[in-house]
Amino acid sequence: MRFLETFFNGQVILNYLPDLVHAMGVTLGLAAATIVTGILCGAALACLRVAGLKVVNFFIIVFADIMRALPPLVLIMILFFGMSSLGLNLSGWTVIYIVLSLVLAAFSEEIFWGGLTSIPAGQWEAGRATGLSRAQTLFHITFPQAARRGIPPLVNRVLATTKLTALGSVIGVKEILSVSSSAQSFSGSATPLTMAAIAYLIIFIPAVILSHWIERRYHFAT
C-alpha cells in the first residue's frame, strides 16, 4: 500500500487542497483568456490574409511559422527576462498569456486559412453575385463554413495549448503544475502530483466533452 501512501496521502491532500483550488482558478483564467485572444487573433489574421496584400501576407506567414516552430518556453524566457532588461516589466501571468495567445493565434490562423481555401469558389461567387461585398461574403458566408471545418483540429490545438499554461511554473505563475510541484517538494510526497492530474481532469474532461458537443452542433452536411 505504499502506492496509496505515495500518490494518495490524505494528510498531504488536506494540506494543499486550498492552494490547488486557487491554482485551478489561475489555470482556468489563463486558459480562457488565451483561448479567446488566440482564436480571435487567428481568425482576424486568416481574414486579413484573404485580402491578398503581399507584404502583409508575408509577415503573417513568417509570424505563423515562427510561432509554430519555436518551443514556447524560449519565447517565455525572452519576453519575461529579456524585456525587463529593456525596461519593460511584464508580470509572469501576462507573459504566459501573451505567448500562449500568440502560439494559438498562429495555429488557428493556419487552420482557418486552410478552411477558407477549401471553401468552394461557388460560395464566394454566390455571395458576390447577390451584391454582398467581399467583407460581407467573408464574414457571413465563407468564414463561418471555414470555422466549422476547422473545429476538430482547432479543438486539438486549443487543448494542447491551454495545457501549456503549465509553463507558468517556470516564471512563478501559481498555476496547477507550479503549485503542485512546490507542494511536492515541500512535503516530500508525490501526492500533489496526483492532485494536479485530477485538477487537470476536472478542467479538461468537461472541455473535451464540450468540444464533442460543439463538433456535433456545428457539423452540417455539405
Partner: protein
C-alpha cells in the same frame, strides 16, 4: 540594450555550449523518431477503433482519446515512470517517455485521423468493396491514402508539437536539447544557450512547418 544582447546573444557562450546542446539535439531526435512513429501508429489504430461499428470498441476508444487529451503529458510521464513500478513494471527512462508520449500523442493523432477518414466519401469504400476488395484492403489502398491527404497539414502540425513536447523527457533524466540548454544556462548564468536551442528547434522544425503551409497552398489551388 547591451545587457539584452549579453544575456541572450552571447556568441562566446553559445560556442561553449554548442557541443552540449548538440548532444541534447541527438537525444531529442532519437526520442522523436520513436515517439512520432508510435504516436502515428497508435493514433491510427485508435481512430479505426473510434469509427468501429462495434459499440464497446468505439466507446472505449473515444474514452481513451478524451482521457489522454485531458491529462497534461508531464503528469502522465511522471505517473508512467514512477507509478508503474508499484505495479511491478520498472521501465528505463527512455521507454517511460515512449509509453507516456504514446498515450498522449496517439490520442491527438487519433482525432486527426478520425477527421480525415470521415472526410472520405462513403462511395469510395463501396466501390472498393464492390470490386471484391476486403475491408482491410479497402482501408489500406483506398481510404487511408485519401484520409491522410485530407489531413496532412494537421498531421504535420501535430508532429511539430510532439517534437516540442519531447523537452519533457528531462523529468526522467533523459537530457534532451532543452534540458541541456538549461544546464548550460545554470553553469554560465546566461540565457544564450537557450536562444541557441531555440535556433536548433527552428532548424529542425521550420522545414516541417513550411511543408504544411506549402501543402495547404497546393490544396487551395486545386480547388
Amino acid at each position: 540594450m547591451d545587457t539584452f544582447i549579453q544575456t541572450f546573444f552571447n556568441i562566446d557562450i553559445m560556442m561553449q555550449a554548442f557541443p552540449l546542446l548538440m548532444k541534447g539535439a541527438v537525444m531529442t531526435l532519437k526520442l522523436c523518431a520513436v515517439v512520432i512513429l508510435c504516436g502515428l501508429t497508435g493514433g491510427l489504430m485508435l481512430a479505426l477503433a473510434a469509427l468501429s461499428p462495434r459499440r464497446f470498441l468505439r466507446w472505449s476508444a473515444i474514452g481513451f482519446i478524451d482521457l489522454f487529451r485531458a491529462l497534461p503529458p508531464l503528469v502522465l510521464l511522471v505517473f508512467v515512470y514512477s507509478g508503474l513500478p508499484f505495479a511491478g513494471i520498472r521501465l528505463a527512462p527512455f521507454w517511460a517517455v515512449v509509453i507516456a508520449f504514446f498515450l498522449n500523442n496517439s490520442a491527438y493523432f487519433a482525432e486527426v485521423f478520425r477527421a480525415g477518414i470521415n472526410a472520405v466519401p462513403k462511395g469510395q469504400t463501396e466501390a472498393a468493396r464492390a470490386t471484391g476488395l476486403s475491408g482491410p484492403q479497402t482501408l489500406i489502398h483506398v481510404v487511408l491514402p485519401q484520409a491522410i491527404r485530407n489531413v496532412l497539414p494537421d498531421l504535420l502540425s501535430n508532429t511539430v508539437e510532439v517534437v516540442k513536447l519531447t523537452s519533457l523527457a528531462s523529468v526522467v533524466s533523459l537530457s534532451e536539447l532543452l534540458y541541456n540548454a538549461n544546464m548550460a544556462r545554470s553553469v554560465t548564468y546566461n540565457s544564450s544557450p537557450l536562444v541557441l536551442a531555440a535556433g536548433m528547434y527552428l532548424v529542425l522544425l521550420w522545414p516541417l512547418v513550411r511543408v504544411v503551409s506549402r501543402y495547404q497552398r497546393g490544396l487551395s489551388s486545386s480547388h
